[in-house]
Structures are given as C-alpha cells and as structure tokens.
C-alpha cells in the first residue's frame, strides 16, 4: 500500500497492480507538489453498466466524498444507501476509506449496489418507543372498538392498573429522553424495511400486554398489595440502575471519538454491577420487566419479558465477546448479562 501511495504522489504511474514490497523511498525535495489525480469509474454491481465516470478525483478523497459526488448526478441515491466495493461480490468499502490507500491504480473501478431506502438509528429508536407509549395509553383510556362498548372511556377500578400505566409510560418516556439526550448513537442507517420489523415487535407486544392489563375483567395479583409493592420497588430500582448505566456508558466516550474503552464501576452504586457483568443495562432492563410482570401478574407480560431476555442475552453475549476480543486485560470476573451465570 505504501508503494502505491508513493506512486500516486508523483512517481511513475506504470504498474497499477498491488505491489507487495512497500519500499520506503526518501521523499526528494520538491518545489511544487504534483498531484496525480485519480479517475473513478462506478459500475453497477449486477449489470456492470457504467453509471458514472469521475475524472480529476483527489487522491485523498474519501469514499464518502465519492459517494457525495455520485449522489450529485443521481439524486435518488443519497450516500447512505450507496454501497461501493472493489469487487461485485466483496464487502462494502467504509466511508472513511481514502482513495489512494485502496489497492487500485490511478483509475479506480467501484461497483455500486443500492441498499434501498435507509433510515437513521435515531428515527428507528424513536418510532420503537413512541409506539408502545401511545398504544398502551389507548388501551388504558379504553378507546372505542377495543373492549365492549359499555366500557368505552371508562377507567379501571383497580389501583394497580393505574400504577402499571404510570410505570409503563415512565419506562418509554425515559427511553425516548435517553435516546435524545443520553445515548451517543452511531450516525449509521439501516434499511427502511427494518423499521417495520422492529416496530411491529414492540408495538404488537405493547398492544397485547395493554389489552389484558386494562381489560374490564382484569384480575389483580394474587398476593395483593404486598406483591405490587415489591414489584414496584424492583421496577424502580432497575429503572434507576438502567439509567445509571446509560449515563456511565455515555461518559465513557468523548463526543466524536471512536476510541473504545472498558466501562468500570463509578461512584454511583448502581454501576458497581460492572464488576460482575459486561452489559448491566440489559440486566437492569430485564429486571424492570420482571418487576412489571410481578406487578401485573399477566402472562403476555411474562412472555414479553422472556422474549426480551432472550434477545438481550444474545446482544449481551455479542458485546461481551467483542470486549474480550478487543481488550487483553478485560476483567475475567465479568459475565455477559447475569452475574456468574450467563
């Protein structure tokens, strides 16, 4: 790669093939810098037809800049939905990759694939959280066509149902606020159709749970007040814990920096769980839902908690594996999501 960079900088432009031996020639003193511009050719990955030819591209141009140039001539393909690769079957090049550091000659050929309409993570999370918030309230206020007409706009006579509504709403309001102010979300995007998949999961489950909790025939928990109070304590404890972890994770990384660091316990007792768990935000989240299940004593909620636990365990295991791979000195006492168990 070094050899090619040197070649591009002003030496001869004979062999474009990737030369294996990176010979570091001392740079001769130059008066004027001669920049060798690249020619970039973009072909469709499937049909191989020429989509665009750019001449006079700076060697220091990034893939993102090339994508922007491509976008100018093809308005409907904004950079986020472009996938450029060196080979039709290869992986996409990263936006930060620099043209002259790629194994191409001064005429670079890129293959283009349309990733389809994209949506930012931020928008997806917002939709995922706003949906359940409003859907639950629809059931709580017993809007028409949900239950029998005589119950329209009535309220439940059980105080645990009101408490459950407050807790559920609090949980999602907290999530929305965290998404807006706490989380440092990657600026990436995902295909638009993912939003349907993700939202249906949260929205349908919220509707399913809310239907039973706010049902006129709802049965209150078996152990009554004791059960509800214990559940509420668990729920609040875990919500606080979850928030503490989110704040700790945020403070770990400076804005804009891509440096990854190991999270450690801070002064906040809720973060002391970092000693034994890699992803305590998932642990606390599961705990919150266990609390909510206990509070409502409702099988759909238990089901949602179980599925959520499985999903979060999969994510936690992945993150834990990444931590262990990335850091030699990663604390060995830590488990992925459940202390000493999982």
């Amino acid at each position: 790669m070094d050899a090619l960079a040197l070649e591009a900088k002003g030496a001869k432009t004979d062999s474009p093939a990737a030369g294996p031996a990176p010979v570091k020639r001392p740079k001769p003193p130059k008066k004027a810098k001669r920049i060798v511009y690249f020619e970039v050719e973009i072909l469709d990955a499937r049909t191989k037809e020429k989509l665009l030819l750019l001449d006079k591209v700076e060697p220091t141009a990034t893939i993102l800049e090339i994508k922007s140039m491509f976008h100018k001539s093809n308005q409907h393909w904004y950079p986020a939905r472009q996938s450029l690769c060196l080979d039709p079957k290869a992986k996409s090049l990263k936006d930060e990759d620099i043209l002259q550091q790629l194994p191409v000659g001064t005429t670079a050929t890129f293959y283009f694939r349309d990733l389809g309409a994209q949506i930012t993570w931020a928008k997806v999370f917002l939709a995922e959280c706003a949906g359940p918030l409003f859907i639950y309230l629809m059931f709580y206020f017993r809007l028409p066509f949900i239950y029998a007409p005589k119950y329209d706009f009535t309220t439940s006579k059980h105080w645990v149902v009101h408490l459950a509504c407050i807790c559920h709403s609090f949980h999602y309001v907290k999530r929305i606020l965290e998404n807006m102010f706490v989380h440092r979300l990657s600026p990436g995007t995902m295909p638009l159709r993912n939003i349907f998949k993700n939202c249906s999961y949260y929205w349908l489950f919220a509707a399913w749970m809310a239907y039973y909790i706010n049902h006129p025939l709802y049965t209150t928990p078996y152990y009554g007040q004791q059960q509800v109070k214990a559940a509420l304590i668990i729920f609040l404890f875990c919500q606080l814990g979850n928030f503490s972890i989110h704040v700790a994770l945020r403070n770990l990384r400076q804005p804009g920096s891509k440096v990854k660091k190991i999270p450690y316990p801070t002064k906040n007792p809720f973060t002391w769980i970092f000693m034994v768990v890699s992803c305590p935000h998932y642990t606390y989240e599961c705990g919150s839902w266990v609390g909510f299940t206990l509070m409502t004593q409702c099988v759909p909620v238990a089901f949602f908690t179980l599925i959520g636990f499985i999903r979060m365990t999969v994510w936690a295991k992945g993150k834990h594996r990444n931590y262990v791979k990335e850091f030699r000195d990663y604390p060995t006492l830590r488990s992925a999501i459940l202390p000493f168990i999982l």
């Binding site: 039973y212 909790i213 049902h215 025939l217 709802y218 049965t219 078996y222 409502t296 004593q297 409702c298 099988v299 759909p300």
Partner: protein
C-alpha cells in the same frame, strides 16, 4: 405449507456434502444415516399401509385410521431434526427447520388428532399422501447424500415432485383446518377465557383462522424459493420455473 419440508435445509445440506467435506464427524454421520434410514422406512410403512388399506376397503375414505399410529410416531420423530441443527451436525437453520417441523407436528396433533371429527375427511388423505411421498424422497436423499452415493433420480425427484406435492399438501392442510373450525368453536377446544388469575386469554378458533391466513404470504415465498433452488441444483434452462 410444510408439505415437502424443503427450503434452506436441503440447499445447505447438499452444499455441505458437495462443497465441503467437513461437518458431521464419523459418529454423527453414522447416526444420521441410521436416523434417515429409519425415517425412510417409517414413511414407506405409512405408504404401504395406505395402499393396503385402500385395496382392502376399496375406497379412499377413512384411510387415516389405518396409518394413524405410524404417522404420529414418525412425524413427531422429525422433532429430532431440530436438535440436529441446534447441535450442528446438520448445517441448517434451527429456526427454519423448527418452523417447518413444528407446523407439521401442529397439524398432526393439534388439528387432526385433537378434532376427531376431521379424521374422516378426505383432505386428511390429501396431505398425508403429499407428506408421505415427500418424506420418502427427502429422507432417502439425505441417506444417499451422507453416503456420498446420490443417484441422480433421487435428486431429480426431490427437486421436482414438490411442484405438485407442495400445493397438494397445502390444500389438504388448509381444508383440514377449515373443517375443524366449527368443532373448535363449538367446544372451545384449547381456549382460555377471561377472567382468570393469569390475565390471559386464547381463542383457538381465531388462532386457526390466523394460521390459515398465514399460508397466503408464506406459501408463495417458500414455493418460489424451491423453484429457484431447483433451477440452481438441476441446472435446467427450460421453462420449469417462471421466476427470475
């Protein structure tokens, strides 16, 4: 929609035996060969049972009763295939295999066995026949593949018979579920109503209707996937499939 129970399972499996020789070790291969041979034999027993019962009775009606036990045994035995994927001795997706096997098991136990009145329906014979032929071909395909001696005719049959068997099986399954609906509604089978202390309700009747509706998006997807697989594996350039 699980009539031929094909899909990624066979594609991945054939790829595994043709491209890479890794995968199951010698012990696992031996076990799988035994498993597939037993399943082939089992479904042959069902096929023979059907033919014998037909010849004995002289009519198509009520043949289910003559093969009820082996059908339940061998179809339920297919649950092991989910385990095979989970353990890794078969390179298929656990989720996909699970889905296919569970839908068969669901039809066998939760519909045909549970709603006695549908057992005398002709639609049952329709899907049983489709399943029987499909499974005999599929399990012998696996057996021969594992032994690295796959006769072309078996491969051809596996990737061709589904064209008729799949719609046949789906029709039989749908008609059977449809026939079960009035009895389920009348008896409230498998249904739970409010109020109860678990705050849960389940209406099996509605569930069956939703199941039937789910065939609409799922069947074409699976069918066209198999047509594409056929083109890839058999390499026919004739107009067997209208896809792509």
């Amino acid at each position: 929609m699980s009539a031929p129970a094909m899909g990624t399972a066979k594609a991945a499996h054939s790829e595994a035996s043709h491209k890479k020789k890794k995968g199951p070790g010698a012990l696992a291969t031996a076990y799988l060969v035994i498993y597939n041979v037993i399943m082939t034999a089992g479904w042959l027993v069902i096929a023979v049972g059907l033919v014998r019962a037909y010849l004995a009775r002289g009519s198509y009606h009520g043949l289910y009763y003559s093969i009820e036990k082996p059908l339940k045994f061998f179809q339920t035995g297919a649950l092991l295939e989910i385990l095979h994927c989970a353990v890794g001795i078969v390179p298929s997706s656990v989720v996909l295999t699970g889905f296919q096997v569970m839908s068969r098991v669901f039809l066998t136990w939760a519909v045909t066995h549970s709603v006695i009145e549908v057992q005398s329906e002709d639609s049952v014979l329709l899907f049983v026949m489709a399943w029987t032929v499909t499974e005999i071909i599929r399990y012998s395909f696996y057996t021969f593949s594992l032994l690295n001696h796959l006769p072309y005719v078996i491969k051809w049959a596996r990737y061709t018979f589904f064209i008729v068997l799949y719609p046949m099986g789906v029709t039989g399954e749908l008609l059977t579920i449809y026939a079960a609906l009035p009895y389920v509604q009348k008896t409230g089978l498998f249904s739970v109503t409010l109020p109860n202390k678990y705050n849960f309700s389940f209406d099996y009747y509605t569930f069956l209707i939703l199941t039937m509706l789910s065939y609409i998006p799922l069947f074409p997807q699976l069918y066209f996937h198999m047509l594409r697989q056929r083109k890839k594996v058999l390499g026919h350039t004739q107009d067997y499939s209208k896809v792509e």
